[in-house]
Symmetry: C2
Subunit: 283 residues, 2 copies
């Protein structure tokens, strides 16, 4: 199986008119809104600034290809004095009843130009303080919305001592439990079944508080040799939960896409898994 | 042992000039600031409004009795769209190195006039959602500050499924661990050693993430028959950690003050405990 690119790409580009989105737009969440009969996209965006605060923007589409921006302002932004003070990144959306549940990654402070090795003078936390501050850790947060314009933030749903930004909720409860996938970066190597960061699964009756995650799958082939993590919420099919995930290769540091099928009643059980990537960067 | 009241009482009263503090001021945290050589008070305050948002105000004193307000605005307020969206209540302050650590109780939504049995039309959370929203639970949050005017909020430090608002940090780490007392309201009755809400102790290398609390002490006498909980941070003495706590009586629903002495090296060990209250309401 291989995926083909749309000729319409890119379907959304950085917007030079707004400072908060004039550098990059990437890593969106897209969901089909039954009531409005349209695709809704929350996209990660950042401007060309030193601190590099990261925001979510809103766009919609009737056909899933041509998207129109719905706001000149971020639709979700960091609480600058709060626990998600640095960024709102990598959204994922699922719907339970009348409410959309949004998971997003954040850090206490803006990450700065993290692709450059430059100091971040605005970060000066107590060195005796929590790991979350000291290392400006990524954690995953939960928010809920009904209209994609107003959100109630509910705080962290991962252990703040870990870098754990790839949380993905299943779109249904199973046996009354919420289910999630995540990729705790620190849970690899000595003392763990996986040498490199891998995908873990956890269950919760609550959605905000979670039991201990169990290892679901680890990298097996060359293109998964550096780490693997989930991508978007699993899709229910008659054959099982269909889930796209990403693998990163030691060889070229590239992200590639793979797919798994998880048992409908027991998503801790993997039914099938692609050996080769189904999508990868082109030169 | 009995405590005597100061003739200067009340040392702070509601302030009719500001809507946010024109109804009540209560439950303060007071710490002596070595550098400024003054007592610093963060006080809980609320106005006479339907939603009854709750704030912290700031006052200082040279003698610990005569306090002067330092701001016409709340010094800490709810993040209205966030996890501490309803209130900032019941502050406690300790100092680690150059930083003050503030624990405070909050809820996702304003509590309303909770002493009256009236509906709260602004609270309409998803019933399938987390307990924190569904029951508008009290949880305890952590923030840090260096000047009492600017705070970095760090999010929840208690399990959001519990009503757990009485978190008190010890002012020092012990064997490299942060130590806290708390009163998880739900951990009482069937399946627990305590019939009524009681004081639990927990340890953490991190201050934001905590291991499972263990029962420290439960109510024993008539004035502790409804529940007991900690009051202010323990004070280090040569005899042990001196801690004031509160007991509530079934008989009259009144709060009374007791004292305990905890082992300096192992604060899970109680050395001494008052049998009678050392302070109680007067008619």
């Amino acid at each position: 199986m291989k995926l083909n690119r749309s000729e319409q790409n890119p379907i959304l580009s950085a917007n030079p008119k707004n400072e908060w989105e004039n550098m990059v737009v990437l890593n969106p969440a897209v969901i089909f809104d039954d009531q409005r009969q349209e695709f809704v996209m929350l996209y990660r965006a950042a401007g060309d600034t030193e601190k590099h605060y990261i925001y979510l923007g809103l766009a919609t589409s009737k056909d899933g290809i041509h998207f129109t921006r719905q706001s000149d302002k971020p639709i979700l932004e960091p609480d600058y004095e709060g626990a998600d003070g640095g960024c709102c990144e990598d959204p994922r959306l699922v719907k339970f009843g009348d409410w959309y549940y949004l998971t997003y990654a954040s850090r206490p402070y803006a990450p700065g130009r993290y692709w450059l090795d430059v100091p971040k003078p605005w970060i000066d936390p107590p060195q005796s303080g929590p790991a979350y501050l000291k290392y400006n850790n990524s954690a995953t947060f939960l928010a809920i919305t009904q209209d994609f314009r107003h959100y109630k933030k509910l705080g962290r749903m991962t252990d703040s001592r870990l870098d754990d930004r790839d949380v993905i909720l299943f779109p249904e409860t199973i046996d009354g439990k919420f289910v999630r996938l995540s990729r705790p970066m620190n849970w690899a190597g000595k003392g763990f079944e996986n040498e490199k960061p891998a995908i873990w699964i956890a269950y919760s009756g609550d959605v905000l508080e979670w039991g201990s995650p169990a290892l679901l799958m680890k990298g097996e082939t060359w293109w998964e040799s550096k780490k693997i993590g989930g991508s978007c919420p699993p899709i229910k099919t008659e054959y099982g939960w269909f889930h796209l995930y990403h693998g990163v290769a030691e060889k070229d540091d590239s992200y590639r896409v793979g797919a798994i099928l998880l048992d409908l009643k027991n998503p801790s059980k993997i039914i099938a898994r692609t050996k080769d990537p189904i999508f990868e960067p082109e030169a």
